[in-house]
């Protein structure tokens, strides 16, 4: 009763007060917003315009893209790598996130520090480190040969295997962090309850743990998949020229072939796919927040 009264009595003043508050709230955002508009939105729009205006107005750039088996293969590679990286980061990241959530203080802090530190290390340094590890005479191939498991070096670099390994490593923290937040929000007593209800460990995992962490997995997977779709440095360094990804193709079209029209078309195709995936995610999981 009192609440209703209070609301009605303040209602006439509410709009002006809230719009003032909103205006005050927006003021600090303006510089960042301006930066995004001038540095991101406008150049992207310019590129998109060139995709339908160069060399002459029309959709010929898109027709060319979808008519070329080479470009479609690049698109396929992009999805294959992004999909594989997403699946592998879920499989590797889940146990880590779970351990971070339940391990005693020291061990979880240590593991957390390792995850964060790897994120803070320079991306190029980390990718070159993988080149050292994965090359024909690298530690991995040498060790396997010395152990007698293989007779010749495995082709781990300059192909999609190398790209997938390197990107999985780079993307892992983006899976672990949201997943860890979701797992930590679950009251561990529900697992005791599940056990007494008769659920085996596997049943408790599939019927309680997975549904309760689905939103975290979805949030992490979206982040990893979308970031992987447009990733450039790691595919450029660890991948081969015969198995290009879309970002590499766009760079090559712009830098070597100066075909801004086709590059713009490829960029718009990538952006459209990304937005479509994001919308699907929103439809099923809201804003990636845990359902409670």
């Amino acid at each position: 009763m009192t609440v209703t009264d209070a609301t009605t009595s303040t209602a006439p003043h509410a709009p002006s007060a809230s719009s003032r508050r909103a205006a005050r709230g927006f003021a600090p955002v303006t510089p960042a917003l301006a930066l995004v508009v001038f540095v991101f939105v406008l150049p992207v729009l310019a590129l998109l315009l060139r995709s339908v205006l160069e060399p002459q107005p029309g959709l010929q750039n898109y027709e060319a893209f979808f008519a070329s088996t080479t470009y479609l293969k690049v698109l396929g590679n992009t999805f294959l790598v992004a999909g594989t990286v997403t699946v592998v980061t879920v499989l590797l990241g889940f146990p880590v996130a779970w351990f971070l959530a339940i391990a005693p203080g020291f061990w979880s802090r240590l593991l957390f520090a390792i995850v964060i530190l790897s994120m803070w290390t320079n991306l190029l340094a980390r990718t070159y480190a993988w080149m050292v590890l994965l090359q024909r005479t690298g530690i991995i191939n040498r060790t396997l040969i010395d152990l007698g498991l293989i007779s010749g070096p495995l082709p781990l670099i300059n192909n999609l295997v190398g790209v997938t390994i390197g990107m999985t490593y780079i993307m892992l923290p983006f899976m672990i962090l949201p997943l860890h937040a979701t797992i930590r929000s679950i009251d561990p007593t529900v697992f005791q309850a599940a056990a007494l209800c008769g659920a085996s460990r596997w049943q408790a995992f599939t019927r309680v743990m997975l549904p309760l962490t689905a939103s975290g997995i979805a949030a992490g997977a979206l982040m990893v998949f979308v970031m992987s779709l447009g990733y450039f440095i790691t595919p450029a360094l660890l991948g081969g020229t015969s198995n290009m990804m879309l970002a590499e193709l766009i760079a090559q079209l712009v830098q070597s072939l100066l075909d801004w029209g086709l590059a713009g078309a490829a960029a718009l195709i990538l952006l459209t796919i990304t937005l479509a995936i994001y919308l699907v995610q929103l439809r099923f999981f809201g804003f990636g927040q845990a359902r409670s």
């Binding site: 005791q192 309850a193 599940a194 056990a195 007494l196 209800c197 008769g198 659920a199 085996s200």
Partner: protein, 359 residues
């Protein structure tokens, strides 16, 4: 006859003994309550029965078979937790169905049983709600339905009402009593609330420092406490400092600090003459009268406070040596003379109502 047999069970965490040598036999269909202050080992004992902790010593037998080697999910025990532990992603009906689904029961059996259980806790209309849409009391009733859905022979309840307000608590206590009568399930109930323990259970085991101080009907714990801890924890009590003057078997004569004395008090300790002790009397077993010499045991006191609170009068009297004693008299009881504050009054009791504990 014994259904749940707890034999000399101990549990230590590192060097800290949480439960030491607890033994208890519980009959089929009994409502047993573990009562005690926090940290007394009552919940730890319950968790060992549930399989969340492994005892460091002793054995737990259910229906003649040791259950210690079985993991929690094979013990077929029901449990209602202190916190709301419904699965947040499942509806009320699916929460109740969960234990049946993991047991791979047929769809028809699951829906029949869910219906039966929701009727038992009177939440049929809430079947399709999500746990977050229920009040705390409703959530605990769903938890109760979920714990009983697979007809476990033993139901554990770990302070299930502690998060609820008083009125709701009393309501659900009545529900629990009714469900116990209707299902005949053996219940092991943990609480730190003595009123809850006394009103719900057939028997109460009072825990203190990881041991059971006394097991018995609520009435026994109240009327015949074996230790000073039991006397202090169950019900209200007055403790009066005194010295044992002479001892004969299980009875003793005592002397109060002002030199007055009492004879023939039942004694529950191995105390010899001359040692300090405490006399315990319940506030509702005391009488107040004008200060005339009387036959029974009693002491002369001064009335220091009087409060009328509806059904009872609360009096506080001060003894000759400065100790305060609380007295509760039913307001309807005839009182020859209503004393005023500062007046001398004779405090008396029946010899059988006093208990003597060594210090």
């Amino acid at each position: 006859m014994t259904f749940l047999d707890i034999r000399g069970v101990s549990k230590s965490f590192g060097n800290v003994a949480a439960v030491s040598d607890v033994s208890l036999e519980i009959a089929r269909g009994e409502f047993m309550t573990f009562l005690g202050p926090s940290g007394s080992g009552k919940s730890t004992t319950l968790y060992m029965i549930a399989g969340f902790f492994e005892p460091t010593g002793g054995d737990i037998r259910l229906d003649g078979r040791s259950i210690l080697a079985e993991p929690s999910n094979r013990r077929n025990i029901g449990m209602v937790f202190q916190r709301y532990t419904l699965f947040p992603h499942l509806s009320v009906a699916e929460n109740v169905a969960f234990p049946l689904r993991v047991r791979r029961r047929s769809g028809a059996e699951v829906s029949r049983k869910v219906e039966e259980m929701l009727a038992l806790v009177r939440l049929e209309r809430f079947a399709d709600r999500m746990p977050a849409q229920l009040s705390g009391g409703q959530q605990q009733r769903v938890a109760l339905a979920r714990a009983l859905a697979y007809d476990p022979p033993l139901l554990l309840m770990d302070e299930p009402l502690s998060a609820l307000d008083k009125k709701l608590r009393e309501e659900i206590q009545a529900e629990i009593r009714r469900i116990h009568r209707e299902t005949g399930v053996t219940i092991l109930y943990v609480t730190h609330d003595q009123e809850e323990a006394l009103s719900l259970s057939d028997r109460v085991a009072l825990f203190n420092h990881g041991r059971i101080e006394q097991v018995g009907k609520g009435r026994d714990l109240y009327d015949a406490p074996h230790t000073r801890f039991v006397a202090g924890f169950v019900g209200h009590s007055n403790f009066l400092d005194c010295t044992i003057a002479a001892r004969r078997d299980v009875r003793a004569d005592i002397v109060f600090p002002d030199g007055s004395g009492c004879a023939d008090i039942p004694l529950h300790a191995a105390a010899s003459s001359g040692t300090a002790a405490r006399l315990m009397i319940r506030p509702d077993r005391l009488q107040l009268a004008a200060p005339v010499p009387a036959a029974g045991p009693g002491i002369d006191t001064t009335l220091s406070d009087a409060t009328f609170i509806g059904e009872t009068f609360h009096f506080a009297v001060t003894t000759g040596w400065g100790a305060q004693v609380n007295v509760r008299l039913p307001a309807g009881a005839p009182m020859a003379h209503e004393p005023v504050i500062g007046e001398r009054v004779r405090l008396s009791w029946n010899a059988a109502d006093a208990r003597l504990f060594a210090d």
